[in-house]
């Protein structure tokens, strides 16, 4: 008997939304010891499905029809109190943001213990012993110390292990994991995925695993459910869906996944670098109310150069200092030591007023397309602002802005709209247009595709590629995703704890990483085995889904 059987489930959205149902006519099954992945892009309804199973839906969403059976027992007609009793005991859940999912007010040990307390299991000493055993099982270092720690004292990976321990506490038959690794670094993600696999084997629970990442799916899934705008488009075993996708949407998605296969380096130039940094150092001192201030060394003697027209990838996990480096090159962050040369100009300590005209030469695009545009400025105004600042007459600037809008693949008529009227991918196109409007020699792209759905991501990467070829700017591409770096960079520099640990041509680094850390990173790329097996080469990128392009 399946531990979870969902049949014809529909969840209604409140009036005024873009569609009537968040989830429509969904059916799926999870058997004991099986990992079922629900895959889909944002807005596909995969999280809502998980919430419906655990009765965690936000108040404005309601199940309209269908059935949810847990070990054969129909859940939907049960009273709320009864369903609450199942939570944590029979069905447990792991969330996306592990630190935020833990209550900051309590020590984590107590929070795990609460599961026992709520469901009336064991006495105080017994509960503590069991929590420590769980911590041991999820491979938390020094369980006794972790027991007494507050969430903010632990890393994201440690918190996710605590969450998993919490979920496993009462040996539930069904574990729901809602994007459990999305907020984690790639190496941590690999560890958590292997932990979940192990635990499934040991406890025999069924796992409903929600993710947007086909790499992760390839790593962990037994069976796959692909969702698009609330509907199931394809289900099947991992081999059948990944190896032979039937539905066009699935096919497009699979094709859009960037492969960790480096592209060929373009002809190397030995021209003078447009940008060079030497021995950059930056320490962030955080003053705290109690206890001495903490100091974090973000940049520890970093040097780099960027040749005209090339793309340098800056790869590293969170906290490695890659964004600090990117922003310090634009003088958005002031370094404490070192030198930055922009073309022939030494700009490290140049006065802001003198530096301002030079800013035209180096531009930046950011990760979050939602926050990167002034919400009260139309697209055209935003793009024209740079040229106007640098002395281009208003009419010409507007003209140039409209041209750029077309050039980044948007309808020029859409230029009079405000940012909130665009989708995420479209906004990122606008950001690119804004940066390019001042005709920079260098474009710094700080994780430009990290928050985008995989199909959109592929389009943006393709766009950058095309634009770079047309306009010839050099690009510093900051990313945590080796697969993305492989697709777009001529050279990569790997950063770890404020230092560049390895640098070289992309293909060379991927083929023969010299530094241990680089090797760990490469090994942790999810779905490596699948990519190797599938052997899908480069160039399969663009063309996924027609939804993005025109506004």
């Amino acid at each position: 008997m399946p531990v979870l059987a969902v049949e014809g489930l529909s969840v209604r959205l409140p009036g005024g939304a873009d569609r009537p149902f968040a989830v429509e006519d969904l059916s799926l099954e999870v058997r004991p010891g099986e990992i079922v992945c629900v895959v889909g892009e944002s807005g596909s309804g995969k999280s809502v499905t998980a919430q419906a199973v655990m009765d965690l839906l936000p108040p404005d969403l309601a199940v309209a029809s269908g059935s949810v059976r847990y070990s054969g027992r129909e859940l939907l007609p049960l009273p709320r109190a009864e369903r609450l009793r199942l939570n944590g005991r029979d069905i447990a859940m792991v969330f996306q943001e592990p630190i935020a999912a833990l209550n900051p007010f309590y020590r984590v040990g107590r929070q795990v213990e609460e599961v026992f307390r709520v469901h009336g299991a064991g006495d105080g000493a017994e509960r503590r012993r069991r929590v420590l055993a769980l911590f041991e099982e999820v491979r938390l270092p020094d369980p006794a110390r972790v027991f007494g720690a507050y969430p903010h004292q632990l890393s994201g990976g440690q918190c996710q292990r605590v969450m998993i321990a919490m979920a496993l506490a009462l040996e539930p038959k069904l574990l729901i994991a809602d994007e459990p690794t999305t907020a984690l670094d790639v190496t941590t993600q690999a560890q958590i995925l292997s932990l979940i696999r192990d635990l499934r084997a040991r406890h025999g629970a069924g796992v409903l695993f929600i993710t947007h990442d086909f790499g992760v799916v390839a790593e962990i899934a037994d069976r796959i459910v692909v969702m698009q705008t609330g509907r199931t488009v394809e289900t099947g075993t991992v081999a059948s869906v990944l190896g032979d996708p039937r539905h066009p949407y699935t096919r497009a998605l699979v094709a859009a996944v960037p492969r960790p296969v480096p592209r060929a380096q373009r002809a190397a130039t030995d021209a003078r670098p447009v940008l060079a940094a030497e021995g950059l150092r930056k320490v962030f001192a955080r003053r705290s109310l109690f206890g001495a201030g903490r100091r974090t060394t973000a940049l520890d003697g970093v040097s780099m150069t960027l040749a005209p027209g090339e793309t340098l990838g800056l790869v590293g996990e969170s906290g490695s200092g890659k964004s600090t480096l990117a922003q310090s090159l634009l003088r958005l962050v002031d370094v404490e030591a070192g030198a930055i040369r922009l073309g022939g100009d030494e700009v490290t300590r140049m006065g802001e007023r003198r530096f301002r005209p030079l800013r035209r030469r180096i531009q930046i695009i950011f990760q979050d397309p939602w926050a990167s545009l002034d919400p009260r400025q139309t697209a055209v105004d935003a793009i024209a602002e740079g040229p106007i600042i640098h002395g281009v007459p208003w009419a010409d600037a507007i003209e140039r802005a409209r041209r750029l809008i077309a050039q980044v693949g948007l309808d020029p008529q859409a230029g009079d709209r405000f940012p909130h009227q665009f989708s995420g991918g479209q906004r990122q196109r606008l950001c690119i247009a804004r940066a390019l409007a001042v005709e920079p020699e260098i474009l710094v792209a700080d994780e430009p595709v990290s928050s985008l759905d995989v199909s959109v991501q592929a389009q943006i990467l393709a766009l950058l590629d095309v634009l770079q070829r047309q306009l010839g700017f050099a690009m510093l591409f900051v990313t945590h995703d080796l697969r993305v770096a492989a697709r777009i960079c001529d050279r990569v520099a790997v950063m770890h704890r404020g230092k560049v640990v390895e640098e070289g041509e992309t293909a060379a680094v991927f083929a023969g990483p010299r530094h241990d850390y680089t090797r760990t990173l490469l090994a942790a790329v999810p779905g490596r085995a699948w990519f190797d097996v599938a052997g899908v080469g480069a160039g399969a990128g663009a063309g996924a889904g027609g939804a993005e392009g025109r506004a």
Partner: protein
Amino acid sequence: MNLRFLGMKAFRTALTLWLVVTFVFVVLRTSGDPLVSLLPADSEPEVIAYYRTLWGLDRPLPVQYLRYMAAVFQGDFGISLRDTRPVIDLVTERVPATALLGLTALALALMVGVPLGILAAVRRNTLLDRLTMAFAVLGFAIPNFFLGILMILTFSLTLRWLPSSGTGTPWHLIMPACTLGLATAGALARFTRSSMLEVLRRPYMRTAQAKGVAPGGRILRHALPNAAIPVVTVLGFSLGGLIGGAIVTETVFAWPGVGRLLVSAVAARDLAVVQGLVLLIAATMVIANLVVDLLYGLLDPRIRVASVDA
């Protein structure tokens, strides 16, 4: 707890107080001759001159300032011009009454405002929420002297349930404390509500639900402690509101506290008393805010316990 941090805070507090003293001194001494209004209108010039010398008002302003600062530093706030008693005595004899009134009002505000705020947040967008918030806003939309007088006319004059004014029994405390506390209760209710709403949206609240914690436990054990932390910061500001309100409330109910003293000292232009009171009130507020800061740190583990990973 970090000594350097405490030292910094103490230094800032002292600096703030010094600014307050200086500000008040400069403003009051440059605003006119206190003697003219202090002495009767038909005082002889010699009499005025006599008192001017007696109180040192004939000296240059900088000298008066330095003398005043030196005295304040030694805990001497001068002699009341009107009352001919040490300011410190006058003030300290009034502090208990105001403290009693203010703390009762604060307790009342907490007991009414916080539960109402929680209730409104939990039942967000229901009729209950709307009514609670309308009540909370009404709490500070009514001028408190008017509320006080209406209460006197209702509960003392007409119903004869409560004494109209003055001190003595717990009954005397009811009307002034309600009058003074109502606005604060409203503010607390509103703040608690928004703080609760903020917390209720947090992912850890969903975690608690996923663990199977019952709604009551989620509110009391998970949401409330987190929501209480920002509410504590509001208490510091509420104190200012309470002291400001006490000025009016004490006058309405003939409550012999600091507020009444201030009103009469201002009317009589009793410089020394006004200066002393302003300093006292500022010191109370600054110290209260310091306490709130520390309390905030103690309540919030994220501040109390430094991170260990690095």
